[in-house]
Symmetry: C2
Subunit: 331 residues, 2 copies
Amino acid sequence: MPQALHLVARPEGEPKDSDFELRPVEARELVDGEARIAVRYASVDPAMRIWMTEQKSYWPPIGLGEVMRAGGIGEVIESKNPKLPVGAWVGGMTGITEEFITNGKGYRVFDARALPDPTWALHVFGATGFTAYFGLKEIGEPKAGETVVVSAAAGAVGSTVVQLAKAWGCRVIGIAGGAEKCAYVKDELGADEVIDYKNEKVGKRLFETCPDGIDVYFDNVGGEILDSVLKRLKLRARIVVCGGISQYNATGEVRGPANYLSLISARARMEGFVVIDYLHRGDEAIAAMAPLVAAGQLKGKVDVMEGIANFPATLRHLLAGKNFGKQVLKL
Amino acid sequence: MPQALHLVARPEGEPKDSDFELRPVEARELVDGEARIAVRYASVDPAMRIWMTEQKSYWPPIGLGEVMRAGGIGEVIESKNPKLPVGAWVGGMTGITEEFITNGKGYRVFDARALPDPTWALHVFGATGFTAYFGLKEIGEPKAGETVVVSAAAGAVGSTVVQLAKAWGCRVIGIAGGAEKCAYVKDELGADEVIDYKNEKVGKRLFETCPDGIDVYFDNVGGEILDSVLKRLKLRARIVVCGGISQYNATGEVRGPANYLSLISARARMEGFVVIDYLHRGDEAIAAMAPLVAAGQLKGKVDVMEGIANFPATLRHLLAGKNFGKQVLKL
């Protein structure tokens, strides 16, 4: 019997297995206009940690007892909706569930055969890629020749940002944790320089690698790295506030950027954004990125874990920075 | 014999009298092209606290042994420069000194008789007014009907921002310390609401006075107030980072805004600016503000302390928020 994972407690610090509960999906017949979807892959994202709290965000908190919220992709396995024929792939907010019933509203049908792998619809050609594309382009506004720094550069969004910034003619410094990820960022993604935050002093290395300062910082992590970047801003620098993963498991107060007053002397800005504002422009991002993918300038890497019961472990894996590429859960 | 005040030690925390030393101004004859200026008023500004540190800012640190840097206005008392006739008023970076010699470069001559009082050249029609005008207009971009929150609303910049925002059709909430200042902000400056941060809970009062959230925050103080505002941002809010006076005497680490991740869900931005970038557009600000002054919609209030030896006490007075209006020192 198909199962769904329900949030039953708000995590304190790192999410625990006991914060969730597997329950059978209600079995019922379809009515006209509905289809039954088997979820194949769920996207596992840092923002999930925020959705689990009581904090108001761009979406309301997940209610206790509700199915864990997640983006995902799946196949239609039964249908009374001609727009959702059996065998079609759909994407949208599926939740962490093996099956669900929908009338199709809020979901898009996509051609999985046109992709290197269906997971690309969650990655470069999905919300992850759109986050990188619109965040960098619309908020970061990089110009060719400028210096762009990217944190979590081996992660899903970060790795896409690194490659886009390179494709757009920028000098790119990636920050990642550990030798393997750093080698990937430099050798595979093509960053000009890479900083290993686990083994190097980020402030000192930023000073060395950005002697003239930083024009654009795409921030996925917050914390100390953001503070180090604030010390090295160039005039009129832009900080794209995409996430603050280093602070998401914090049980005390979030660490605010102590060096934020550098925004004054640098005449710089920090700006936040949410990808859902740009989803209606997804085709524009796909049109811009598809040629880069075809030319080998934009690679996707997916970190697949498996099994609905492993969702909490997968999320911990991601929040600890152990993932390598876009984190997905195969159901 | 005229004297000048020299910075002889970098203050730890609150500046002490012993961080400065009065020394006689070198007495020498003028050469052709020079004029001798008697400084009448010096502007005392929060940013001075930054200039005294070793921190790199939009200007280099004041060197130890140098005359304390300050904007000011004075009268020409002796001249070998036809552009600076005896009796003319000049404004610019005079420093904390009773007299100095200049060839005129970097100073502007102004008509003091056209002003309600010469100090207005340091206030509404000087760097203070330009800070308020360009910071609010260019960075805050307020639209009529929007909600604008201003900290240090009884201060020099803040009081000008409150009045400009009202003149531009915004709903204005001023934050100030103590009943007297709050009454001034509401009754004299015309703020719609006022919050007394010394006697009220700022977060709770922001919630009450800005039920729909905050569109523009003009921040002169940083610290806890900034954090409270971050919790109440409206979609696409703008935070004008003008100063962080609450943190300037901090000897430990500056308190960063712990709620900065709200920039994401609000799609908001924080942006710093420095008035010196706009000084060349001063005439534009004067042209916009002069009719408001004439109509009684833009009032200036000056807090005058007296005597060069009282500079350290005047600066402490300002940094502790004890000033009421634009702080100047009469020499």
